[in-house]
Symmetry: C2
Subunit: 331 residues, 2 copies
Amino acid sequence: MSEATTDVLGIGNAIVDVLSRTEDAFLAERNIQKGAMQLIDENQAAELYSEMGPGVEISGGSAANTIAGLASFGASGAFIGKVRDDQLGDVFAHDIRSIGVDFTTKAAAEGASTARCLVLVTPDGERTLNTFLGASTGLGPDDVSEDQVASAKITYLEGYLWDPPEAKEAFLKAARAARSAGRDVALTLSDPFCVERHRDEFLELVRNEVNIVFANEAEIKSLYQVETFDEALQAAKQDCGLVALTRSAAGCVIADGDDVHVVEAVKVDRVVDTTGAGDLFAAGFLFGLTSGRSLVDCGRLGSLAASEVISHVGARPETNLAELARQHGLL
Amino acid sequence: MSEATTDVLGIGNAIVDVLSRTEDAFLAERNIQKGAMQLIDENQAAELYSEMGPGVEISGGSAANTIAGLASFGASGAFIGKVRDDQLGDVFAHDIRSIGVDFTTKAAAEGASTARCLVLVTPDGERTLNTFLGASTGLGPDDVSEDQVASAKITYLEGYLWDPPEAKEAFLKAARAARSAGRDVALTLSDPFCVERHRDEFLELVRNEVNIVFANEAEIKSLYQVETFDEALQAAKQDCGLVALTRSAAGCVIADGDDVHVVEAVKVDRVVDTTGAGDLFAAGFLFGLTSGRSLVDCGRLGSLAASEVISHVGARPETNLAELARQHGLL
């Protein structure tokens, strides 16, 4: 196995977030499930956009946010995802490249516009996602280079990729290329409704295709259709290699077979916007893994990165995470 | 004179801001004058964008920010400005309409893209503006309806309109329509370099075309080419009708002939981003004027709105300004 040139390669939907503050009633009136991600088509996106308040456009996308977090820790990152050659596609590409991430996926020259996620942030800081996948659905196996995958210590895949049909093929191609190169493959389950949509395939993935799994409490309970967190943990210990389970303010539980650790969350003065909390947890955790830290320190680094991103609007760090980790004695 | 149906009609460049945090050295290396606004062409914009860090896209534009502030106070506002029919143009139009502002200027179907301002925010919270005027330069007299102008208590014009040549004609048409309908015309000098570029014409404007003038200390000193604030104040008292002069943390001075008032600034815990400070001062002041408040209260309302906008990233209010004014005993 040759030396890895990249710490983590992320593959995911390339999305620009449109964040807007709203009241709980706005969600209730439209039967939008608070805290979840729902897929919407172009017409629904136009309708919801016309009804919502003023927005702020910020690059997003789950795996892309994670790679941005890794870059902020000083790790080397690459990203594969599909935008259209339009203004928001340019914004996405600029933002991720400007932080030193290798992003070379060719923008689509026709078809749907760059993916947008209408993020409704309620007064409690909770975010509710309404995603128009747009050009993201054009991601296919041809966009994945097996050489690039083989050059990364870890290939990180978002469960949301299971929604656009072609992307699934890209996902599997990458996962297999990584394993045959002796690399690690990580998956985040993304969202409980995403798990609901693809449960059987996700079970197959965590058992046979990936060796690192990220999930929050709702997602892992949905995967195993169980009532309690502990039941989910026991099931995950059987199925997954390394698993990192996040529980918001209750911290996280990390299991590698029978090696189980419970790590506290980093306290936050005021939760402004939870967008990106899970993505940044994964960033810190993967940074820890690729730099050879203990599982407990991986969990602490994840919690620290999550605490930063929920303290402000937007799903990417505003503070240098390496600096923050040093301040917390973690680097 | 028939009853006004709109409190304030703003006319200005329709711009989307791209805000990015940077270090002072980034400006120094590129000979960019900190705190000022410089005009850049499409190539310069592309080059600067490629060099700067990740951004956040937020609707901006000086007069548009002022009208957004007025809407947040509960006043009725309208805006005239030119975007292209592209994604950033849609963002601009959505954001201003979503807060109840009447915005019906037809988007350009061809030509340059929607105007962008690359806003570089240094660690001290100071903002430095690099504006690509793009589609804004297409604003012309045909975009101004004399009936709409006549229906507004005050028509508010930004000095930046003097940069795109056609917009100047739109400006004069609006100012004259307002005066012949017996309405007020307000002008903000916008920026000391803008004053430098157009000094003689601005002097003509404040003497003969407008009856309310907004300026900060640097702008009014540049207009009269004097060394001290007091010299500028004395000159402005001669030339202008009502003049509101802002001095950052030192508050503002308001003069209506010999009726001169000095009003304190509202203290801010931490200045995050000064983008929009002058625009929001004008919003509060104009809200006070159109609701019949004393000049001192107009100044207080202006200072309050400015204090809100410099406490966060972006040039439009995140807090309901009517609510904030009530909390401060100003409503």
